[in-house]
């Protein structure tokens, strides 16, 4: 439904930080076969940065 272009009003620094935070969240749950709650974690990360 949405395109994958960089969202307007979200600057590059925020996007870079988001990328790092998402990958760090994945790293933190890499020891879990089925990383329960990871979608909630990623959702929160994006919600905090994009208001």
């Amino acid at each position: 439904m949405v395109n994958s272009e960089a969202p307007e009003d979200v600057d590059d620094e925020v996007l870079r930080r988001l990328m790092e935070e998402v990958l760090q969240a994945e790293r933190d749950k890499l020891h879990m076969g089925n990383p329960l709650g990871i979608n909630d974690d990623i959702q929160s990360i994006i919600e905090e940065e994009v208001e």
Partner: protein, 674 residues
């Protein structure tokens, strides 16, 4: 991951508790010597049992030591344990699998599993010891099961890694060890999160806002148009009123009409004042009804309550003749008013105490008196209300009669003026009547337009509220859209990163595999991981063509070893480098090899043993004496930081040993291969 110590207890032929520590640092090789059948592969299997609850040996259900079971009594439990201490990504771990086997009868040497538990404790960066709640999964994440042939490799079968059909293992190993898995998971999860935001978008977003704004604007346009019409009618009415005033002035100056016109002016004045009076009376009526109008409705209920209270009073229930506290005082005093002593438990005491139940509540009595008092007041109020309303209505009726009389008289004057013989007067009055009719029409139109405008104002206000609500919803939808787009963007970036990184990893792995392979193999062959993740040994035949060459088991073993060493060394390099990426920080992995020199030519044995210590931070080799050739020993003796021997007790040869048993010792043991 760096291995520190392994402890086995009653595991297969390892009777009692046996322990070995692993070499680290410069002399990073741990060598375990053991003859064929002495327990090298069992030792390798102790890792598999701990990590994956699996044994790849014959009789896999035989986990507990036969000797330990033989020494136990029927019904006893024999503890089998494997415990591994290691460090991983900066934390110290202690992993342990413990299974209690119950001995069922005298002849039971296998035991029946009674209780089994896996624990994984780790020390975090603040030095606190914590326990993983998902120990088995966590262990499999540290040492993925599909990679067990990489981490715990059996030299006799490792060549199979380069066989057709093993692409999945190769691909999985690259994914897991080189950090591609994080990117793959992030892609999948971002896609799911994007879906969540899109659902939110749909929930809040709609075309509703634009429809509402359009509707409101349409209503505003209609309202403007109505306002214009209203203004026109008002102007027309005003103009007509002016025209009537001119006619009135004219009639007031003409001889035939002057007197009637003056009377009409007076009547009009009286009529206007009477209409004002009627309006004032209506206002007074509204105020009176608004403030005291409830009385007629409330009074029946109050009357009924008052009647009920009156009956109670007549029956003597209120006010009560005896107060509760009076009875209490008598009981406290211990003497009745008749002089009888009142002692608790006596008939007299109980008789007096019963009066407490009959005594009235002072609060209830007070409330009853208040209601009764208020009732009479309310009755008076109601009478006053009816009197006031009646008076106002009477005045209104008089004013209405007066108004009607004025109107009739004005009408009469108009008729008289129309009937005048003087043409001017007649025409002027007829014209005046027409204009009055017009004003009546204008008033109707103005009234109708005002009603329409009021309704439009109500509708516009309603639409404004709906627009405000829709705007708030739209704001949520817009935020959700931006978040969904952010998730899509991150997904796209990670997808690109994954594709680029995957290509880079494939190139790096290919280059490193071939470098290691060619350093060991003296021929002009080269090793390559193809696009479908097959590990191949190829030869360049010119004209940019390459063919797969027939290979010996030893060459395939070297190719497989090169691949494993590649992953371990690339992961270590990344771990030690300053380059920092969130998705791949690399890692330290040991190489644990059972009979790594099994099929190798002596030349390859020397090359492999020379290279092994440099391939990984930590190398554990389990070898037979025959594999420990002079060439191998010459390369590895200097880097072997820990060395153990497996002392095997074979009941067939050792008269003292009733059961198969292996001891781990640091004392040199030389036993011939079976």
């Amino acid at each position: 991951m760096e291995l520190r110590a392994l402890e086995v207890e009653n595991f297969r032929q390892f009777y009692g508790t046996q322990r070995l520590e692993f070499a680290t640092g410069d002399r990073n090789v741990t060598v375990v010597h053991g003859s064929n059948g002495s327990g090298k592969t069992t030792l390798l299997n102790s890792f598999l049992w701990l990590f994956y609850d699996e044994i790849t040996l014959p009789q896999p259900d035989q986990v507990a030591s036969e000797r330990a079971l033989a020494e136990a009594e029927p019904g006893d439990l024999v503890t089998t344990r494997v415990r591994l201490v290691f460090t991983h990504e900066g934390s110290r771990y202690e992993a342990e699998r413990v299974t209690e086997f119950e001995k069922r009868d005298d002849n039971d040497l296998s035991g029946t599993e009674a209780v089994s538990e896996v624990t994984l404790e780790y020390t975090d960066d603040r030095g606190n010891t914590k326990r993983r709640k998902n120990p088995e999964t966590a262990l499999k994440q540290i040492m993925p099961e599909r990679l067990r042939e990489i981490f715990f490799f059996d030299g006799e079968t490792i060549d199979q890694l380069s066989a057709i059909g093993e692409q999945e293992k190769i691909q999985e190993a690259i994914r897991k060890i080189m950090g591609l898995e994080i990117l793959e998971r992030a892609k999948r999860h971002l896609d799911e999160v994007q879906g969540r935001f899109e659902d939110e978008m749909q929930e809040h977003g709609s075309e509703e806002l634009s429809d509402l704004v359009e509707e409101r604007n349409r209503k505003k346009t209609i309202r403007s148009s109505r306002e214009e019409e209203l203004s026109e009618f008002k102007n027309s009415k005003e103009k007509t009123r002016g025209e009537i005033e001119d006619i009135d002035d004219r009639l007031a100056t003409l001889e035939d009409s002057r007197e009637l016109q003056e009377r009409r002016e007076d009547l009009k004045q009286e009529l206007a004042e009477t209409e004002d009076d009627i309006e004032a009376i209506d206002t007074d009526l509204a105020e009176v009804i608004s403030s005291d109008g409830y009385l007629p409705f409330a009074l029946p209920a109050v009357t009924e309550t008052a009647e009920m209270l009156r009956e109670k009073r007549q029956k003597g229930e209120i006010p009560s003749e005896i107060k509760g506290h009076f009875v209490d005082d008598l009981l406290d005093l211990g003497e009745c008013i008749c002089g009888r002593p009142l002692e608790s438990g006596t008939v007299h005491y109980e008789n007096v105490e019963e009066w407490k139940g009959k005594a009235g509540s002072s609060e209830l009595e007070q409330a009853a008196l208040n209601i009764a008092g208020r009732f009479s007041e309310m009755g008076e109020d109601e009478e006053a209300l009816f009197g006031e309303i009646e008076s106002l209505l009477e005045r209104r009726r008089n004013k209405v009669d007066r108004k009607r009389e004025y109107e009739e008289e004005i009408d009469e004057i108009s008729d008289k003026l129309t009937d005048k013989d003087t043409e001017d007067v007649r025409e002027l009055e007829e014209r005046r009547q027409d204009l009055e009719d017009n004003i009546t029409d204008y008033d109707q139109e103005i009234g109708s337009l005002r009603t329409k405008i009021e309704k439009l104002d109500d509708k516009i206000e309603e639409l404004n509220d709906e627009i405000s609500e829709a705007r708030q919803k739209n704001q949520k939808a817009e935020t959700a859209r931006r978040r969904a787009q952010t998730a899509a963007y991150l997904h796209d970036r990670i997808e690109t990163l994954h594709a680029d990184y995957q290509d880079q990893v494939r190139q790096d792995v290919n280059q490193r595999v071939n470098d290691i392979f060619q350093e060991i193999i003296s021929k002009d062959y080269y090793a390559k991981i193809t696009d479908d993740y097959s590990l191949r040994i190829l030869k360049d035949v010119g004209e940019q063509k390459e063919v797969e060459v027939a290979r010996s088991t030893g060459e395939r073993q070297v190719a497989s070893l090169s691949f494993i060493a590649t992953l371990v060394s690339l992961a270590r390099e990344r771990y030690e480098s300053d380059e920092n990426t969130a998705y791949f920080t690399g890692g330290i992995y040991p190489m644990i090899m059972d009979s790594p020199f099994g099929y190798l030519d002596p030349d390859y044995q020397q090359s492999v043993s020379r290279m092994l210590p440099g391939m990984a931070d930590q190398v554990v080799v389990l070898v037979t004496q025959s594999q420990w050739s002079d060439a191998v020993a010459g390369e590895m003796d200097a880097v072997a930081g820990e060395r153990y021997y497996l002392r095997y007790h074979d009941p067939a040869e050792d008269g003292d040993a009733e059961f198969e048993q292996t001891e781990i010792t640091s004392e040199r043991v030389v036993q011939a291969d079976v």
